[in-house]
Symmetry: none
Subunit: 211 residues, 4 copies
DNA sequence: CATGAATGAGACTTCATTCAT
DNA sequence: AATGAATGAAGTCTCATTCAT
């Protein structure tokens, strides 16, 4: 391994170190109340160092979303590759993948919506935004493919696959968000898992061709 | 009408004036980038005045959500009262109501999630938070009732009605959020209406008893 | 005096209060080492208040120069108005005026060059920059007029009046700057007054037509 | 040439390399906006290396002035040595030398004033400051000698030679500064050369004994 | 000797909130 | 009740400088 490469790796490790710290802090405090100093402390680095790896607070924040999207994309692509699986099995695998996405980063998914649904997006560097767009599209596309297959095989109702993928993703994230809200609002127990299962079941029934 | 009452009414009018302005400003700029001065200007009042009607920025913000919840509650309650309607018709009416909720305040629903999914909630005054909790519960309860009826009449699958209501609401808001994100990310056309219709249809198929 | 007008006056007084404090602090520490907090303290105001009256540090700084230019312009215009004076007397009056400009604000004139000769100018608001340009031009124009008169009357050598004005002003400020430098560098006594007198005399001999 | 000496030379070359880079960067951005990293990049060195050759940013900056003073001193000394020249010719040669000083480093002369007229000087190391003082004095002294000669020979008016030298230098730098300002302020064409010529002519007339 | 990643102090600026009028 | 000038705490970000390699 050359020196060049070792440095590259070291740098990537530092980035991850910061991202992990940022995730923790953002999750706990939310975007605004989290300060760069908080994150620096969590990462056991100095504030200035953060800026060597991320242009500003917003880009650091956005990088977290990117990380989820990457994970999601990998998982869904993986499901798609298993050509031996029937659409049914694939759908099941997809649902499992989605749940893993949630477990991979339970709180950040909420912040991810905060990111997308507003203010921040406009200040990101072109390249980062492009990456987000790209991954987003690819992931939805991969999900859509599963539905497409099912439709072609006459198992699912004939609907626009991308629209189905959108609904699938929207339902998933809607449930995650809503259960999170309920936990805050009503200190309810964590029903996420069962609600999610119910939602997935409902979705499946909704697209499957009747009898 | 007594003087007391007239004053009360005047005060309420002022509150609404501020809320309307706040809605506009928050919608355009998001919670953080919107300043109290922005809102004051929009309301043609001075910053100090805002504090005569709202304890602080966060309470003003939360009041917007309250307003949606109130609207939602009224609409759903209204649907429920129509005892002559079949569950099917009621579900249709509910869907329509949800769409109206969205149209009543298209952007604020996004901010509402921002509110709920994080930071702010903890700083609200007990009473306001209670009101939100209460309305939230009542609205979900009212929605659940529709499903309950359908289940009792053997039209819908036998599921926990509140869970169905949660999924219904989560799906609705998930779609709204996701379509909003897509608009920002990919400058897509506004597919909200059709996606929402598709989602509702899927939901209906999902809960309806086969055969 | 209406309320409107009183407020206007109050506001102007505040501006002056800040300018005076800024002048003291900038003179003592220079542009970079002077902090907004220093200035706020000197003005017995809070940092935030400075920003109600000046857009940023650089505009505050530039306003000091503007103040000198205003003073200079008034003085030179005044000299010009005295139609009864011969060009000779006017030149004397001009020299006196220049010296007063210096005394009006001995150290800031140095900073003024710092301002003009560099970095800062580009960040100023259009309007402020325009004002500076305008006053600058007018002042030089007024000085040039004195020379023009002398040339017309055959007292002074026939040279381009504006060029003479430029040289006059350049010599004046050059001497002020240079004597200031010398004071720092060699802790010399303050020879400014005599050097300035010598320079003015030399200038006069230089433009006067030989006997 | 011993190893010692070669090293010495190598070191000096590095210093010059840095100074040249610093000149470019300071000229373009001014003292504050120029960062040590900018300079390092321009010199194709690392930031750390700069500190092996210069104690800090201010000393690096001051070294530029020193370089001009050195150049000025060499030129003026050279003029003085030409014992065969009349004071008149010497004055002409001096003027030419001054113009070359300007061309040697057109923008830095402005920054030199920034240096001298303020903040920085106080933080310099004793030795560097001494060198500046020394060269400064010597250069002015050399200029003064020319005038002294002219006075002794009855060509120039009987004035204090050092005062004349001061005025000469002040006028020169005043014109350079002022023309630079004008270029920024009014985007005027570059009249420096002609203004400088006019100033020199005026100066000469001013000191020369009348007919 | 050279590097350049890391530091961390400190500056500017914003803005929610207060309070005298 | 309404104002809006003033506050001052706090946050983001920069950059001169250091030091382990």
């Amino acid at each position: 391994m050359g020196i060049q490469e070792r440095k590259e790796r070291e740098k990537e490790r530092r980035r991850q170190q910061i991202i992990v710290a940022a995730k923790r802090v953002f999750s706990e405090k939310g975007f605004n109340k989290a300060t760069m100093e908080d994150i620096a402390k969590e990462a056991e680095l100095s504030p200035g160092t953060l800026y060597l790896y991320f242009k500003n607070k917003e880009e650091l924040y956005a990088s977290l979303s990117l990380r989820i999207l990457q994970y999601l994309h990998i998982r869904v692509t993986h499901v798609n590759k298993e050509t031996s699986l029937t659409p049914d099995k694939k759908l099941s695998a997809l649902m499992e993948a989605m749940y893993d996405v949630y477990e991979f980063d339970p709180l950040i998914i909420i912040n991810m919506f905060h990111l997308q649904s507003s203010e921040t997006l406009k200040n990101l560097s072109e390249s980062l935004l492009d990456e987000i767009k790209d991954l987003s599209k690819k992931s939805i596309g991969a999900i859509a493919k599963i539905f497409e297959e099912g439709i072609e095989q006459g198992i699912y109702e004939d609907r626009h696959p991308v629209a189905l993928a959108d609904i699938f993703w929207a339902m998933f994230s809607g449930v995650v968000l809503w259960e999170a809200s309920k936990k805050i609002i009503s200190s309810d127990k964590d029903y996420l898992k069962s609600t999610l299962a119910a939602a997935f079941e409902l979705f499946e029934r909704g697209i499957r061709k009747a009898g």
